[in-house]
């Protein structure tokens, strides 16, 4: 009888452990999958890259020329937001109110866009205030890989790798989330694949499995 008692307690403990582990998204240290930090400006990729279909490299112009794709300078945002200071719906709403109150339309600025103006050191209507220094926006870096890995965007873009392969379907993300675990094994799955599929780099795969490809 005493033996059965021990067996039962063991079983309960095992099940409990399983339950705990499954939903606490157990991850190895250093694995940041599904990391989705709150950014200083609620920039929506879905709206810009998805709906308005702005190409990735318009803002992340470093991707094809350097190791870092680079986060766009605030002045790049100002290329459009010098004119667009609120969403279409807000404008239409304001227009109706102006028509209903019979007054002139005031220029309105949405909260997020006002953050851009503030960063540039402009007033709330996007006009520069002389003498006021702007301060760059401190974005939170989402995709962090260890500093002993030399990852360069340039060869990947040259080889025709699509941004979504590593960054996931950004065009549908309100806030950027790391969809892949970016582990070494995950990178190697792609590096080991035969490369006839990628037109720009019909390389033999052995070359891409050298340690010095990413570690030096």
């Amino acid at each position: 009888m005493q033996r059965q008692l021990k067996l039962v307690t063991l079983l309960i403990f095992a099940v409990g452990l399983l339950v705990v582990l499954s939903n606490s998204t157990f991850r190895m240290p250093g694995n940041q999958q599904n990391y989705e930090p709150i950014q200083p400006i609620e920039f929506s990729h879905r709206l810009h890259a998805g709906e308005m279909d702005i190409p990735c490299q318009y803002c992340h112009y470093g991707a094809s020329q350097s190791r870092h794709a680079g986060i766009p300078a605030t002045s790049v945002c100002m290329n459009c937001h010098k004119y667009v200071s609120a969403t279409k719906e807000d404008f239409q709403l304001e227009e109706q109110e102006a028509v209903s109150d019979g007054r002139e339309m005031e220029s309105i600025t949405s909260i997020e866009i006002s953050k851009i103006y503030e960063a540039m050191g402009y007033d709330s209507l996007g006009k520069p205030i002389d003498g006021k220094e702007g301060k760059s926006v401190e974005w939170i870096k989402v995709h962090n890989i260890p500093d002993y890995v030399f990852f360069s965007h340039k060869p990947h873009i040259t080889a025709g790798v699509d941004c979504a392969d590593c960054h996931g379907d950004v065009t549908s993300m309100e806030r950027i989330k790391q969809t892949e675990d970016l582990s070494m094994g995950w990178c190697l799955d792609c590096h080991r694949k035969d490369h006839e599929s990628l037109e720009a780099a019909p390389e033999r795969t052995q070359l891409l499995l050298d340690c010095a490809t990413c570690h030096y």
Binding site: G62, I71, C211, H215
Partner: protein, 984 residues
């Protein structure tokens, strides 16, 4: 891809205030507990499991505010500029990563550097990021604005003019025409002002001798490529004499083995220098013997009935009339006049000794400084402006000079750092590093070199040109001052017909332009009378500039302090070199401390027993014992048995300039009678090589191998007869394994020409800069834990003072059957599919078996955390190369980051990699072009041709490690009978 030189006018317009999401080490303010500490603790403590759920530290990515047009973070840009690290003015290309210069490379088109650089220039990039630099103008230790300083200074000038005192500008050789122009303006404004130039390592006797012989005080330009016979009397022209990089490049041009003859280089020297090491024939003579020899030669040329060595050399020189070159590095008027007479008799003028477009690199005059000293003594000097020199340290009368300075009301020091002289001055004008300043320089007449800033100025600094101009009433910023000068004078000197703007843009873009030299008519040769020179017999001191410290201006540069002296392999110290016989006389051995005393001053120095040194000569390096070197007290790691890097005097090395004397106004550096008394104390010398010959020690030498066959040497005649002469024909190497690892894509290989390598160690420092190799301090070097990835092995042969020296640069040989890879348990070092041995730092656990198993002993281990976290200093780190942590093995990676970058660039352009697209840091910097790198799978590449060369061999071939780094037999131009090659 060749370096696409991005042209950029000047950096200070763009506001690269915030560094963008660049390399991790520059990534800004994550929690201070960075990723690596987290992983270390997580790995070490079994809490790794529990921390799985907690977040790794948050990293920020901060872009520019306003995007500058052409700055893409992570992409390197190259700017052409000129180096002011030493006086020879080599043209450089500055690699700029994320708006900060991190690497210098010789500008291949520049006539002085011709693509190479010396170690001092390679290491000068770290002095830009030095938190101990002077960043703010000061008046008597109190920060002031420039305006207040200007008013105060001008007031002082007027007061000194009023009471009839003189204003003296004391500088080193000014090579910038615009600075000279503004100094003339200043001298005109303050009528009693005077400008004196002097060089700490003085060449004024050469200039004075030319004034005696030809009536004009010039320093000729020496063409070593046109000389078939070179006789050098104590002139280390491949190491430190006037413009070594240019001379090495030219020297090599006339020694290509395909020609039917190569130049013959005879060196007569008192100490052992790298030029003596490379000479075809080397004689060790004391300074008085050299003076006697010069007289014999000059006499033998007149009437050929002399005898001895002098006549031998004279007859040989006569065979090379018009194609020979005699030079001397001894700063003595009579010897230089003799040299002029000999060159004139051999009709070398304007063939190998160019008077028409002389060199303007050295223009100092010791007499003028002696005169200044007497003026100061008599109180005639009211204001003293000192720029770029350190008289309190440099001059023999240093203490006297500093005492006299107290009585001068206005003393202004232009200097980057706190020096012996600047601490005596009441006004400090911080001067910028040359990488952040504008300058135009005419180092050799006819070539105008441009220096442009490659970073926004780090402090509130001002050059001499700007201050002098503003004191002379011209208020402008640096660029405008230079540009306006040339706008006025470019038409008289330009070649070709370009508008000023285009001419100026090309000048800044290419870094130099050829212009018409100043018209110069030399007088006809006059025999002149030899002044009285009393060179005494007996023990004499020879003070020489060492290759790493020169005159001491770079003494606060850690890379140079830790660079092993090419001959002695000594770091962090200067010593008294004496011969073995002299040491036995006083029964001293290596490291004993002696007291050197001459004209009632003395200094205590450890001794170093130097093979090949003349018995009556004590050679001591200048440039040590400098103020400011006390900063290196704790540069080494901190642990219980650590000894700090400084000597008893709390400095690095000892100052010896106060032992020097003056002769006819010229400072005498060599031949000073001195006495040596042992003090009984002992010092540890931090040597990177303690066994100096390929022969085994007598008591343990096996009969089958008395000498180890790593250096192959032959003579030019033998080479012409049989190109593979000097090779050790070992037995044929066969392997048991079928070749599982063919290299299909690339197979990188390297070859080093032992005949070309002068041992100057430019490659060692260039490699250290490129690959973030740490500095470990004197105690760690003494414990044989230096970290440089390359070392230059220096082997002596022969005995007494008739020695041969062979240099062998030794780095990872990237063997195909590497002994280090099979023994690593965790796959931290494996072979790439392109023939390179890869060392993966983050996988290494540090068992060190690979280092033990490497027959070449080229692997380095991080015994401690050597990296310093000085925020400003770490700006010089190359972001493409990981900074290694403690407990990790590292070695030459064959500049894998350059190979990868070139491959990525070629793939992006869709072009195949051409031979020469990839230049390794060492290969690029070598002034002697000794190192060749390339793809062995490409039959047309240089390396493939060299591998077929009969001179090509591998070190330790019989081990069948199959290294990819090969060496080429050294060929000397000497007759066979001189005992053949000692290396057997």
């Amino acid at each position: 891809m060749s370096k696409d030189k991005k042209y950029w006018m000047s950096k200070n317009e763009i506001s690269a205030d915030e560094v963008v999401a660049g390399p991790a080490d520059l990534q800004t303010t994550s929690t201070d507990w960075n990723r690596r500490d987290f992983l270390k603790t997580a790995g070490f403590s079994l809490a790794a499991f529990m921390t799985a759920c907690s977040k790794t530290p948050v990293n920020k990515a901060i872009p520019f505010l306003i995007q500058p047009e052409e700055v893409i973070p992570g992409k390197a840009y190259w700017y052409a500029s000129t180096s002011h690290a030493c006086g020879s003015g080599c043209g450089v290309l500055v690699k700029n990563r994320d708006s900060r210069p991190i690497k210098l490379e010789g500008n291949p088109d520049h006539p002085v550097s011709q693509g190479g650089l010396c170690p001092v220039c390679q290491a000068s990039v770290i002095e830009l990021y030095d938190s101990k630099r002077l960043f703010n103008p000061m008046i008597s230790e109190e920060n002031v604005t420039w305006d207040r300083l200007n008013t105060n200074v001008v007031q002082g000038f007027r007061k000194s003019r009023k009471n009839g005192q003189r204003i003296v500008i004391l500088t080193e050789t000014i090579t910038s025409p615009s600075t000279k122009y503004y100094i003339q303006k200043f001298l005109k404004k303050y009528s009693n002002a005077k400008h004196i130039e002097y060089d700490p390592i003085s060449y004024s006797s050469i200039l004075d001798a030319h004034e005696v012989s030809y009536g004009k005080r010039i320093l000729p330009q020496y063409h070593f490529d046109k000389a078939d016979m070179i006789l050098s009397l104590d002139a280390d022209f491949l190491g430190t004499w006037i413009s070594p990089t240019q001379y090495t490049k030219d020297y090599r041009k006339n020694r290509s083995l395909d020609a039917d003859h190569i130049s013959k280089h005879v060196q007569i020297e008192s100490r052992v220098s790298i030029t003596g090491a490379k000479a075809d024939k080397r004689y060790a003579k004391s300074v008085s013997e050299i003076f006697q020899l010069a007289q014999d030669i000059e006499h033998a040329l007149q009437s050929n009935k002399a005898h001895g060595l002098g006549s031998e050399l004279a007859t040989e020189l006569k065979q090379h009339k018009g194609k020979s070159l005699v030079i001397s590095g001894i700063n003595d008027l009579s010897i230089q006049i003799l040299v002029n007479r000999i060159n004139n008799a051999l009709e070398n003028i304007n063939k190998t000794v160019n008077h028409r477009s002389p060199s303007k690199q050295k223009n100092g005059s010791d007499l003028a400084v002696a005169q200044l000293l007497s003026d100061m003594k008599s109180g005639q000097v009211g204001a003293l402006i000192i720029d770029g020199v350190n008289p309190v340290y440099d001059l023999p009368e240093g203490e006297q000079f500093s005492r006299l300075m107290e009585s001068i009301p206005i003393t202004i020091a232009f200097s980057q750092k706190e020096t012996e002289t600047s601490s005596q001055c009441n006004t400090i004008c911080p001067s910028p590093h040359y990488l952040e300043s504008w300058s135009d320089d005419e180092f050799t007449s006819g070539i105008l070199s441009m220096t442009q800033p490659t970073i926004q100025g780090l402090g509130n600094t001002r050059t001499l040109r700007k201050s002098i101009a503003s004191w002379a009433g011209i208020e402008n910023d640096e660029r405008i001052l230079v540009r306006n000068y040339w706008k006025k004078n470019y038409s008289t000197r330009k070649k070709g017909s370009q508008s000023f703007n285009r001419w100026w843009d090309n000048l800044v873009h290419d870094g130099f332009v050829t212009i018409k030299p100043f018209p110069l008519t030399m007088g006809i040769f006059r025999q002149g009378t030899l002044p009285k020179s009393d060179f005494k017999k007996g023990l004499t001191l020879v003070a020489y500039p060492s290759l790493q410290m020169l005159d001491g201006r770079h003494s606060e540069n850690p890379w140079l302090q830790e660079m092993p002296d090419p001959i002695m392999k000594l770091t962090w110290d200067n010593v008294a070199c004496i011969s073995q016989i002299k040491a036995d006389e006083l029964n001293l051995n290596q490291g004993d401390i002696i007291q050197l005393s001459s004209n009632n001053t003395s200094v205590e120095l450890p001794i170093y027993i130097q093979e090949g040194q003349h018995n009556d000569v004590v050679a001591v390096a200048l440039g040590y014992g400098r103020e400011g070197t006390q900063r290196f007290k704790n540069i080494g790691p901190d642990w219980i048995q650590k000894k700090d890097t400084l000597g008893e005097n709390e400095l690095v090395g000892e100052r010896i300039t106060h032992l020097l004397s003056r002769q006819e106004g010229n400072i005498v550096f060599s031949g000073i009678p001195v006495s040596m008394t042992p003090t009984g104390k002992k010092a540890d010398l931090a040597l990177t090589q303690t066994y100096n010959t390929l022969a085994n020690p007598e008591n343990t030498a096996p009969p089958s191998m008395k000498v180890r066959p790593f250096i192959q040497e032959t003579t030019f005649d033998e080479y012409k007869k049989d190109p593979s002469s000097g090779a050790h024909h070992g037995h044929q190497v066969v392997t048991l394994w079928k070749d599982d690892h063919p290299y299909e894509k690339h197979h990188w290989g390297m070859a080093i020409d032992l005949g070309a390598c002068t041992g100057c160690s430019a490659c060692v420092i260039s490699c250290q800069v490129e690959n973030n190799v740490p500095v470990v301090g004197k105690d760690e070097v003494y414990r044989r834990r230096d970290m440089a990835w390359m070392r230059i092995d220096r082997y002596y042969s022969g005995e007494g003072d008739d020695i041969d020296v062979a240099f062998q640069p030794m780095m990872c040989q990237h063997c195909d059957n590497s002994p280090c890879e099979p023994v690593c348990p965790v796959l931290a070092t494996v072979h790439s599919s392109e023939g390179l041995n890869q060392q993966v730092y983050n996988r290494c656990v540090g068992t060190r078996f690979c280092a033990n198993n490497c027959p070449y002993k080229v692997r380095r281990f991080n015994w401690f955390d050597y990296a310093h976290n000085d925020e400003l200093e770490n700006m010089v780190l190359n972001p493409d190369v990981t900074v290694r942590s403690r407990g990790v093995m590292e070695k030459c990676s064959m500049c894998i980051q350059r190979i990868q970058e070139a491959k990525i660039e070629a793939k992006a352009k869709g072009l195949p990699l051409a031979d020469g697209d990839i230049k390794l840091a060492c290969q690029q910097s070598c002034p002697a072009d000794a190192i060749t790198f390339g793809d062995l799978n490409d039959p047309e590449s240089d390396i493939s041709k060299l591998v077929e060369d009969p001179r090509h061999y591998h070190v330790l071939e019989e081990l069948n490690a199959r290294p990819t780094v090969g060496y080429l037999t050294m060929v000397r131009n000497r007759e066979e009978e001189k005992g053949g090659n000692h290396h057997g």
